[in-house]
């Protein structure tokens, strides 16, 4: 593969890297740049990257420069990350900053850097590359959380994200180093083969310890128990655009990468008939999934702060995703991927709606949202639809995604997990409606009239329309299937 070919394959990454530099330089070069200009540059770059990613979906697979892997799975979720980052960027541009701080350059740059990190996290079999992507995304997130110096909680949120994130990524790195020792290589596929051999000889500990350490890393990204502690606090302390990035882009990237790692690492063993040895792994993942779903939803029940509620909700949704992961098999991963896509779309809409509503009401407390659904019926109704999708009520894509996950779980013999998921669905609806109910059923008269925020409205309505349209689930299922097939190991 020539360097030119490689460049073509890596066009999206290149665009993003270049775009990030341009954004940084923009304000220096154009002294009188308007605040929105850097955002526009960022959006253009994301659009360009998305365009090439979309193209790349049809290009097949390649190992580029020995470190980067291009395949359907990676590209698909890179696309998802790019689009959700774009959504976060739109929110950021629509947000109001205090006088003197109108510039968005830092945020835009950090978003793009994070996306770039996510791209590498998603597109590699090499553990070091993976770690670099992981850290790239992570560092961007820590900075994003803390970047709004004028908001009083930004520092605390930043500290928490940093300490907790660095701790878990450190644990993961330690796990990676052990895996390197185990497989003698940083390539996951080779490590996987070696792992299968080790497992076949009955040595469980050698695999179990790195597995748990990797779990710590991804557990942080995905915020499942017991690595979730940061999420509610940091969600609560960050601005809504950053929350959007945290809850969607960062989370989807981490989740998809988790699937890839598990597929690459364990599939060989699974194919080799080591299901028996891996049963405890399945069990532990299922237990984590159950605890996450249930406790996350329980904790979300009585929240009063919109962001914190979304944080806990995001924790609980991670538990659902884990159901598919826990199955450690093609069908489970397929269902998990489908769930992830639907979750992403749903959450983009919900966070955008939350942004819209908090801008309109001037607060993040649930009670300040009273009556907003009546004055803004489009956003209100869309939000209800999106929440229905989050809960898993038909006719929305969320229902299908959840149902598919549970079907796979039942097939995999995890009947009890199905029951727990059912229980937590009830709780989910309760907190979802605690969010939606005041919009319509209570009223408040005095409100500052804000700008019309039409792009945000369009985002919300579009996402709602999307989750309804995707109730015709075939496209989602096809994408999920293709992506899991492209992981090659099943």
């Amino acid at each position: 593969m020539s360097a030119l070919d490689s460049l073509l394959w890596l066009m999206p990454e290149a665009i993003l890297a270049l775009g990030a530099c341009v954004v940084l330089a923009w304000d220096l070069v154009f002294k009188k740049a308007r605040p929105w200009e850097s955002g526009a540059v960022g959006l253009t770059c994301l659009a360009g990257a998305s365009f090439f990613l979309f193209q790349r979906l049809g290009w097949g697979e390649a190992d580029v420069l020995g470190m980067v892997r291009v395949d359907f799975h990676g590209t698909l979720f890179q696309l998802a990350v790019a689009l959700s980052a774009a959504a976060a960027l739109i929110l950021e541009m629509a947000d109001r900053h205090p006088p003197g701080r109108e510039g968005r350059t830092e945020t835009v740059f950090l978003l793009m850097a994070g996306v770039l990190g996510a791209f590498f996290l998603l597109g590699t079999w090499n553990l070091m590359m993976l770690y670099l992507g992981f850290e790239g995304l992570g560092l961007a997130v820590y900075a994003l959380v803390a970047v709004r110096k004028w908001e009083k909680d930004s520092a605390e949120a930043g500290v928490k994200a940093l300490v907790y994130g660095a701790l878990s990524s450190g644990l993961m790195l330690y796990g990676i180093s052990l895996l390197y020792g185990l497989g003698g290589s940083l390539d996951l596929r080779e490590i996987g083969l070696e792992t299968a051999r080790v497992l076949a000889s009955g040595h469980v500990v050698e695999v179990a310890v790195p597995f748990l350490l990797l779990l710590a890393g991804f557990g942080f990204k995905l915020a499942f128990l017991p690595f979730h502690f940061w999420a509610p606090d940091v969600y609560q302390g960050s601005s809504t655009p950053v929350l959007s990035f945290l809850a969607v882009a960062s989370k989807v990237a981490g989740a998809a990468a988790f699937l890839r790692v598990l597929a690459g690492w364990l599939a060989a063993g699974l194919d080799g008939g080591l299901g028996e040895v891996l049963a405890p792994t399945i069990w532990i993942l299922a237990a984590i999934a159950a605890a996450t779903m249930l406790l996350g939803s329980l904790a979300a029940l009585k929240q009063k702060n919109l962001h914190r509620l979304l944080g806990w909700s995001s924790v609980a949704q991670g538990g659902f995703f884990l159901i598919g992961v826990a199955l450690l098999g093609r069908y489970g991963f397929e269902a998990a991927s489908a769930y992830l896509l639907v979750y992403g779309l749903t959450m983009i809409g919900i966070v955008a709606a939350a942004f819209f509503l908090s801008r309109k009401s001037g607060g993040l407390q649930l009670r300040t949202l009273r009556g907003l659904g009546r004055t803004h019926p489009w956003v209100g109704v869309s939000l209800v639809i999106l929440l229905a999708s989050l809960v898993g009520l038909p006719p929305t894509a969320g229902f299908f995604a959840k149902w598919l996950l549970l079907v796979r779980a039942w097939e995999g013999g995890l009947g009890w997990l199905v029951m727990v998921a059912g229980l937590s669905t009830i709780l989910t609806l309760v907190y979802a409606l605690r969010l939606a109910r005041p919009l319509f059923l209570e009223s408040e008269t005095d409100r500052p009239s804000g700008s019309n925020l039409w792009p945000v409205q369009a985002l919300v309505v579009g996402a709602a329309a999307g989750v309804v349209a995707l109730f015709h689930f075939t496209p989602v299922l096809d994408l999920a299937r293709k992506s899991v097939e492209s992981l090659r190991f099943f």
């Binding site: 110096k149 930043g158 390197y180 509610p232």
Partner: protein, 101 residues
């Protein structure tokens, strides 16, 4: 010296780092603990590379880890600075306005 010795040292480093993160009363010390955690991994990489690896992958990895550690330290210090300027303290326990009551 055998591989095990390196691994034990790395593990000790790791535990020391974790202990610092969990117990020290200053964010700077917590950051140092985080660096220790990273360095434990770096030590592992090098040791594994020396004793069981074929190429230079482990050593390269260790270099990357150092870079990442530097970046993390830089960002960490920046955030701690910001935290200090907004709260006037860098005691971890002073940061608890976010959380469930």
């Amino acid at each position: 010296m055998s591989l095990v010795a390196y691994l034990v040292v790395a593990a000790l480093l790791m535990v020391a780092g974790l202990a610092m993160v969990a117990s020290r009363r200053s964010l700077i010390h917590v950051l140092i603990g985080l660096e220790l955690v990273l360095n434990a991994s770096a030590l592992n990489f090098v040791a594994f590379d020396r004793y069981s690896g074929g190429g230079q992958e482990g050593q390269l990895a260790a270099l990357f880890v150092i870079v990442v550690a530097a970046a993390e330290a830089a960002l960490g210090l920046a955030i701690v600075l910001h935290a200090y300027s907004s709260k006037g303290s860098i005691r971890p326990d002073d940061f608890r306005s976010l959380g469930d009551s």
